[in-house]
């Protein structure tokens, strides 16, 4: 049985429907990420699931029993960390024991629990530090310890890494993973950052314009996105302005709309079971890491899409280089640094971009 199950949750602000979720659930020991862009309604959903705001319609079931915002027992089984770690006036220890006081634990037990958690997060030296002396990363870790201290069955996080710099974000992700692993309960992570979702979640629910549009394991979400939005939110690039030429057994051939005579054609696969009739306007999605680059005179390797292009720009992206290509169709490739050197890539260089048929997803255009 799922630990928390949301059914038909609706929340309106004025006339605007900000949350319209038919079903969402998280099981014991599971980490669920709700992934979506800003303005999708994620933070409102966070407050509804955390039972600090009432839904206009629908209900939350905790272990099969309905839980409402005023339900004290249910609230004590949950704890949440907001996007901005709001630390109350006082010391780090005062903050970490807040939830324990709210649950009426004795002083001795509170002290032991606080010491354990601060040690787990490596901030035991900060126990008596006033919270206004903490850095953003430290403050976020204190907020994490504070939420975890009462050992809630379900921990909820709203954009926990949004206000952290790259280094603090990496460290916090590790803390979060350790914190989640050391508790038997479940966690819901609300985030706009696919890196957080893929690093921490067992399942991902993608949210767009107040609705959950796809739920699945990280692998399912990446390999079989249900919509162009899901593909884009997980890091794929979208190519618009194409139309279907032929469609057979899920394999789709498309060409640029408005092309006179035989133009550039690409072959991809359509996630929908229903075949796409010729002439259907479509959007094509691909992942930059699946674009292979070769020089124009390189030998053909198997059957795949070949797109002649010219290097427009090279942008370093961590250990990789993001190569922007111009041509009949503008593409982006993620190439290792040694690949850039081996091919002698520089702006203006002619190349051929290769894309396997299975790496192109074809969706009906909206």
């Amino acid at each position: 049985m799922s630990l928390l199950r949301a059914q038909g949750l609706r929340r309106r602000y004025g006339r605007r429907l900000v949350v319209d979720v038919d079903a969402l659930e998280v099981g014991r020991g599971e980490v669920l990420a709700v992934l979506g862009p800003n303005g999708a309604g994620k933070s409102t959903l966070f407050r509804l699931l955390l039972l600090v705001e009432a839904a206009d319609e629908g209900r939350n079931l905790l272990d099969g029993r309905e839980a409402r915002p005023g339900d004290r027992e249910a609230r004590h089984r949950l704890a949440g960390v907001f996007q901005r770690p709001y630390l109350f006036t006082g010391t780090v220890a005062d903050n970490v024991e807040y939830g324990l006081r709210a649950r009426g634990l004795g002083r001795r037990e509170r002290e032991v629990r606080v010491a354990e958690l601060l040690t787990l997060l490596g901030i035991e030296s900060l126990a008596h530090a006033p919270v206004n002396e903490l850095s953003g990363g430290e403050a976020q870790r204190v907020a994490l310890a504070r939420a975890r201290a009462p050992m809630p069955e379900l921990l909820l996080f709203d954009e926990p890494t949004a206000n952290l710099d790259v280094t603090a974000r990496r460290r916090f992700r590790e803390d979060l993973a350790r914190m989640i692993r050391t508790q038997a309960g479940a966690a819901i992570l609300i985030t706009h950052d696919p890196a957080d979702a893929f690093a921490l979640a067992d399942r991902i629910a993608v949210m767009e314009e107040s609705r959950i549009i796809q739920t699945g394991t990280p692998e399912e979400i990446v390999l079989s996105p249900a919509t162009p939005f899901v593909a884009a939110v997980t890091g794929a690039e979208l190519l618009g302005g194409w139309r279907v030429v032929a469609c057979e057994e899920g394999r789709v051939t498309v060409e640029l709309e408005g092309a006179r005579g035989p133009g550039l054609r690409l072959a991809g696969i359509a996630p929908d079971v229903a075949p796409l009739p010729p002439g259907t306007p479509v959007t094509v999605a691909y992942r930059p890491e699946e674009v292979a680059l070769a020089l124009p005179d390189a030998a053909e390797v198997g059957a795949c899409n070949r797109v002649p292009a010219r290097v427009a720009a090279l942008v370093p992206a961590g250990g990789l280089v993001r190569v922007r290509l111009e041509g009949d169709v503008d593409l982006t490739a993620l190439v290792p640094r040694h690949g850039v050197e081996a091919l002698g890539l520089e702006p203006g260089r002619e190349v051929v971009a290769r894309l396997e048929t299975s790496a192109l997803r074809v969706f009906p255009a909206r």
Binding site: R47, L50, V52, R72, R75, H76, L78, A79, G80, V81, F82, R84, P85, Y86, L87, F88, T89, G90, Y98, G99, A102, R103, A129, P130, V131, N132, E133, L134, S135, G136, G137, E138, A139, Q140, R146, A147, P150, P152, L156, N163, L164, D165, T167, A168
Partner: protein, 241 residues
């Protein structure tokens, strides 16, 4: 100069009459501030955090209370407590209780108005965060008020300021009766009229000293004593180091 020397002598001698006036002043003003807090603070919190129709009018009314002339409050309390007034049967007119009521009505708008601004200045996320950690609505409200403690301290200080040197209202409803309702401010008025400047100056010095001591104590309470804890608002953390 002679009046100043005489005032100093009176202060050192601590005449029983002077002590009696000072003690009564402290009792009346202290009780009035406490009553003003009891009335003003819940109103300030309710209007500051509540969302209801007519809220802006309520805020404007509270702020209008800042400009309430003491003699108007004195007149109102006098009419209510006078023999022919609705509470005339209680026979409170010309008693310290009447003075406390009048001064509390003067202090309450200051306490309410500044409390209102203080609790509003704390982001509502504080209560949500407290609730998210399992706090009851009352505990969450208390946490919110703790975060507003600087402003709430200022509200109490303003309430003290509104009553400690007030003379118009207490004169009207207390009557300045020796040994019963005479307080420092009314005594200063009386002694000045009589030409006893030394006594008036001595009382003025005591009044200022008490006002300073009370405000110093409240300021220490408000600002906290431990270094690094100065500043009452909830923290969101500095940029990551």
């Amino acid at each position: 100069m002679q009046a100043l020397r005489e005032a100093a002598r009176l202060l050192f001698e601590l005449s029983p009459e002077l002590v009696d006036i000072v003690v009564r002043s402290l009792r009346v003003s202290g009780s009035a501030v406490l009553l003003g807090i009891l009335i003003g603070m819940p109103i300030g919190v309710a209007v500051g955090l509540g969302r209801f129709p007519g809220r802006q009018i309520a805020v404007a009314l509270i702020h209008t209370g800042f400009a309430l002339p003491p003699v108007v409050v004195g007149l109102f309390v006098y009419m209510v407590l006078s023999r022919s007034g609705p509470l005339g049967g209680l026979e409170l007119l010309f008693t310290p209780t009447a003075m406390i009521i009048a001064q509390a009505l003067l202090a309450a708008p200051y306490v309410a108005g500044i409390t209102l601004a203080a609790v509003q200045a704390v982001p509502p996320d504080v209560r949500l965060q407290a609730r998210a950690l399992g706090a009851s609505p009352m505990r969450a409200l208390w946490t919110h008020m703790r975060e507003a403690r600087l402003g709430i301290g200022a509200a109490v200080i303003a309430g003290v300021g509104a009553v400690i040197s007030e003379v118009g209202a207490v004169m009207m409803v207390g009557g300045n009766i020796l040994g019963e309702t005479r307080v420092m401010t009314t005594a200063i008025v009386l002694e000045t009229r009589r030409g006893n400047f030394a006594v008036a100056i001595a009382l003025g010095i005591v009044l200022l000293a008490i006002a300073f001591a009370v405000n110093l104590a409240l300021t220490r309470l408000q600002q906290g004593r431990r270094p690094g804890e100065v500043g009452g608002s909830a923290r969101e953390g500095k940029p990551a180091r």
